[in-house]
Amino acid sequence: MSVLVYTENWDGKFKKLSFELVSYAAAIAKEMGGTVTALSIGNVDEEELSKLGNYGASKILNVADDRFSSLDNKALSKAIAAAAKSESAKVIILAHNNLGKALAPRLAVKLDAGLVSGVTALPSGFDPFVVQKKAFTGKAFANVQVNADVKVLTFSQNSYKLVETDNAAVVESFDPGVSDGDFATAVKETNKVTGKVLLTDAEIVISGGRGMKGGENWGGLEELADLLGAGLACSRPVSDEGWRGHSEHVGQTGKIIAPNLYFAFGISGAIQHLGGVSSSKVIVAINKDPEAPIFEAADYGVVGDVFKVIPQLIEGVKEM
């Protein structure tokens, strides 16, 4: 019995998320009495691949094939299904990110599997298989039972700890049998976010709302983010007004994030905003209105003017 985990790379490197996925897969494999096989697609060198072993993978299937860089959903899901079949995998785990969400449903149909997306914990039972997921956009959790032999799960970032092991994994190259005709996505242009901390990876996120009054006032938040190595986010009206780019919008209709620490500057805390951030471990709110709903969701708060508070926080971080 094996658990297959699809580990995405970014320019040949894995991120913490990939290691979290492998740790999570290893815990499931242990309960089910099996082993973990990690699948890597793209050009990743041997040394980087072997890191997956440190988190519990005993085998690594390596597909070094540039064609997949177009992220063609049909071709990629075909490749992952081929690996799942060749490993007789009973559980297949992907990240609950843009790519994982795109591939998992296709994979579930191909493998006649049951899909649970956005899982937040280890399965609470294996026979029957029951696992918890987020529902109602962070307002609740659901326990879902899978009535199929094969299970496909997408894993919510920051839902499981990294567990280092002293496993040494074997790396095998794998031919998924995908032909040129399976690729139909013609990429014309790619814009990568560079030099900035990616919002979905960030351990700390600094977010501003309408209380920031205008895009020209973001200097303090940018400085704070730089000092803390944090990602930047904003409420929906801020991106609608064009004060910040759409990629920074968090909430029910924007990105859903779960950092260790979330700062909300001049954000009222509307339910749709909280839907995207309420899984953060610690929430800090700065708002001049003591009645603002954000304080009900926050762990720490300052009732006050953001423009008075931001310089003090910058000073505090510099002294730390």
Partner: protein
């Protein structure tokens, strides 16, 4: 070019979430139902493309009971030409995708939302594409159609891309595809009453997952307040007490 927009009927985004029957079922009492926000954006974009002359016909489809007809009428009022309701409770994503596959054959572009805001499945669009053997593009934040070719913007993890893709295709839509969802105008509402809403029986299909029960997140401890003139202290608290800095 014919477009099918999949419509999920969900509780209004401000709904207080409660459960009944020992936390085994969502409490429908007093709930206002809306078009899932992403489906509303997808539909709005389809209507814009029709107005621009690059789309001939827009159909909306839903798997749901009679209760969802008000939501479908709203979609017709926004600008869809006709609606299909597959008369069954939406049991799970696989079941829903199977139902939709049975009515999706004649469309060039199928638009689905990135997730339904109730059960957050992120599943139906991708499953439908696989069942139909079509390609799919996910996290789509822009769509243009010229001379029968679709140009699509999508978000990837760490950036964005512009690509072209052959039809038929399933596009799984997120924010950015259009600016604001369109609100039905009076004229649209009047016209919607006369547009066809076809009810079709469900086909036989399995369900592979069952929602056993629900939990609400544990209540938060009270927020610790720090004085405005002493905000620096917050950094020390986050460092020493919360240990997140």
């Amino acid at each position: 070019m014919k477009i099918l927009v999949l419509i999920s009927n969900v509780p209004d985004t401000t709904t207080k979430i409660r459960f009944t029957g020992d936390n085994t079922a969502f409490d429908n009492a007093g709930v206002q139902w809306i078009i899932n926000p992403w489906d509303e954006l997808a539909l709005t974009r389809a209507v814009e493309l029709k107005e621009a002359g690059s789309v001939e016909k827009i159909t909306v489809a839903n798997v749901g009971s009679k209760l969802t007809e008000a939501t479908l009428r709203k979609a017709l009022a926004v600008g869809a030409d006709d609606a299909i309701r597959i008369d069954s409770d939406p049991k799970d994503a696989y079941f829903v995708a199977k139902q939709l596959a049975a009515v999706s054959g004649e469309y060039d572009i199928i638009l689905a939302g990135i997730e339904a805001s109730d059960y957050n499945g992120s599943a139906v669009g991708g499953m439908l594409a696989e069942l139909l053997g079509y390609n799919s593009v996910s996290a789509v934040s822009g769509l243009n159609i010229e001379k029968g070719t679709a140009t699509v913007n999508r978000e990837i993890d760490g950036g964005s891309q512009v690509l072209t893709i052959a039809v038929p295709v399933v596009l799984i839509v997120q924010k950015g595809i259009t600016k604001e969802p369109r609100i039905p105008a009076m004229r649209g509402i009047m016209m919607a009453r006369k547009k066809p809403l076809n009810v079709v029986p469900p086909i036989e299909a399995d369900e592979k997952t069952v929602f056993v029960n629900y939990e609400l997140p544990s209540p938060k401890a009270a927020c610790k307040m720090v004085d405005e003139d002493n905000a620096k202290e917050l950094i020390a608290m986050l460092h020493e007490e919360a240990k997140v800095l």
